[in-house]
């Protein structure tokens, strides 16, 4: 499943784009690295909190790992880098994020489930994603589980603004153009209906039914006609992934 998610994301990146990804991001990292080995050799990816540029290993290690840092083309001094990350508009073409909760308009929650003062589940923090979802041209959401606790009608805490309340609410608030483009999950690929900015079924993975997806989603998904079937990873995509990106099979073992 980890391999599938990485491949589905990688297909959407263009050459010369600039990406930023966070720590503990195996699938996100694999997607960027795979795109570099296929259609986007000059894709640039920054490791968010570390300020490293284009680390280049043939296996997936934590982006916070010292080895990953050593393999970068550059590492920016963070007080310099954060001006681009936290203030500048559209420095990054895209980011790829996961979350505790995602809602129908692609808003993300990485902070708490339940009340902030006494949470049921404490997450890692804002992880700085507000500036990434708020200021980059677009973003992707990757979920390793698709259920009603992850896909909720409204997130308990907005730490990554998406399309807010939907419609024109994001631009009305004064956020720059952007927002979520695709959501990839173990069940399918989802995009956002252009007017309502509500999550819509784009394709279902082979063998997955619409009913199954509806049961596993905490809100009504937009469905336009009969959803397509996801094009599964090709032999070539898997070969590149397994030899040049994930040679120690992290995606197959950790995200089986």
């Amino acid at each position: 499943m980890g391999e599938l998610l990485a491949v589905l994301l990688a297909r959407d990146f263009a050459n010369h784009e600039v990406a930023i990804i966070g720590t503990n991001s195996d699938i996100q990292l694999a997607a960027c690295r795979l795109a570099q080995h296929r259609q986007a050799p000059r894709l640039t990816w920054y490791s968010g909190p570390g300020g490293m540029v284009n680390p280049r290993l043939d296996r997936l290690v934590s982006t916070a790992d010292a080895e990953n840092i050593e393999s970068a083309e550059a590492w920016m001094d963070l007080p310099v880098m954060i001006d681009f990350i936290d203030w500048r508009i559209h420095f990054f073409d895209f980011t790829i994020l996961s979350a505790l909760q995602v809602d129908r308009h692609g808003n993300l929650n990485t902070v708490v489930v339940g009340e902030h003062a006494k949470p049921r589940v404490r997450g890692p923090g804002t992880v700085g994603i507000a500036a990434l979802t708020g200021l980059s041209r677009r973003y992707y959401i990757v979920l390793t589980r698709h259920d009603r606790s992850a896909l909720v009608p409204k997130v308990d805490f907005v730490s990554g603004p998406g399309f807010l309340e939907g419609g024109t609410s994001r631009e009305n608030y004064g956020l720059p153009p952007g927002g979520p483009k695709l959501v990839v999950t173990p069940l399918g690929v989802f995009d956002f209906e252009p007017v309502s900015k509500a999550m819509r079924v784009k394709s279902l993975h082979p063998g997955v039914t619409l009913e199954q997806v509806r049961d596993a989603t905490g809100f009504d998904l937009v469905v336009d006609g009969t959803p397509a079937i996801t094009e599964m990873p090709s032999a070539e995509e898997l070969r590149l992934l397994r030899t040049h990106v994930d040679s120690t099979a992290t995606l197959r073992t950790k995200y089986a």
Binding site: A66, E67, P79, H116, T126
Partner: protein, 295 residues
């Protein structure tokens, strides 16, 4: 400091930390966390601390687990592949720890306001719930219609800043052999800066490779020589993170009696850094050292 000689012992460096101090912690996740300084801070007894960690792991979590922190700023606390920071998570979920939720612009803007002596820094209003849960750090900043929406973050000025770097001279010129992450900004914003280094080198060596100096001596109040002072996190170019120890820590954190045993063995009993390294053993430490000839 009246002396130009800033090289002191761990105890001297942290002897006068008052209860209720705000303490910045440098490094980044499993890299260059100021662990020897944190262990000494716990031994010295300072409590009710307000933590201001750079994206961190075991440094803030150990202080929280030892019961020394009453609050923490949180942008991101993580044990990466080992999950969430165990004591941070538990203390936040029970409400025992006050969490000042912040994002990147909030912490960076707050530190920058402090180091520039500004009443606030403008940051983009990104439509998050942060101003609701943390009005102290996120204030409305009215802007004319059509201009970018902004918030004001007031200065974050830590009383004490703890940093680990690779080398320094006795005057306190501090060199980083890898990325300094947020350390320089934290130091610039703080009232007192204490740095541990793996080794002391001569001032001539500092001058010969002065491009490594990120903290000149006047920004540093005390330097402590503690070989392997970032253990179990890494120190750039010198040694890698000790994955086995990090796992041991996470495992010990699952039950109070096991964590008491961890604290006794690794924090309370070893009276100095030498004694701490003895609990790990020479073979363990040698296995972490990075080869200088590796390609």
């Amino acid at each position: 400091m009246t002396s130009v000689h800033k090289l002191v012992s761990l105890d001297e460096a942290l002897g006068e930390v008052r209860n209720g101090s705000s303490v910045a912690l440098g490094g980044w996740i499993f890299n260059s966390q100021p662990m020897a300084l944190v262990r000494q801070l716990i031994r010295n007894g300072a409590t009710d601390l307000d933590l201001i960690p750079a994206p961190g792991s075991i440094a803030p979590d150990l202080l929280i687990g030892a019961g020394r922190a009453r609050s923490t700023v949180c942008v991101f606390l993580s044990f990466e592949q080992y999950g969430l920071a165990p004591h941070f998570r538990r203390a936040a979920e029970t409400g025992a720890l006050k969490v000042h939720e912040m994002d990147g612009p909030g912490i960076a803007g707050g530190l920058r306001a402090a180091l520039c002596d500004l009443p606030y820094m403008p940051i983009p209003d990104l439509a998050t719930d942060l101003p609701k849960v943390n009005p102290e750090h996120y204030r409305p900043l009215p802007t004319p219609p059509g201009e970018r929406r902004l918030l004001a973050v007031p200065p974050i000025r830590p009383d004490l800043c703890l940093i680990h770097a690779q080398q320094a001279d006795e005057h306190g010129n501090v060199q980083f052999l890898g990325a300094p992450f947020f350390d320089v900004m934290l130091a610039q914003a703080s009232r007192r800066v204490v740095v541990s280094v793996d080794r002391i080198v001569s001032s001539e060596k500092i001058r010969r490779c002065n491009h490594f100096t990120k903290l000149p001596a006047n920004m540093v109040h005390a330097v402590v020589e503690v070989p392997h002072g970032a253990h179990p996190t890494s120190s750039a170019g010198l040694y890698r993170a000790d994955d086995a120890h990090l796992k041991e820590y996470v495992k010990a954190s699952a039950a109070p009696e096991r964590f008491s045993a961890y604290l006794a063995r690794y924090v309370e009993s070893p009276v100095n850094n030498g004694a701490y390294l003895d609990t790990l053993g020479a073979a363990r430490l040698a296995g972490l050292v990075l080869s200088q000839t590796r390609t």
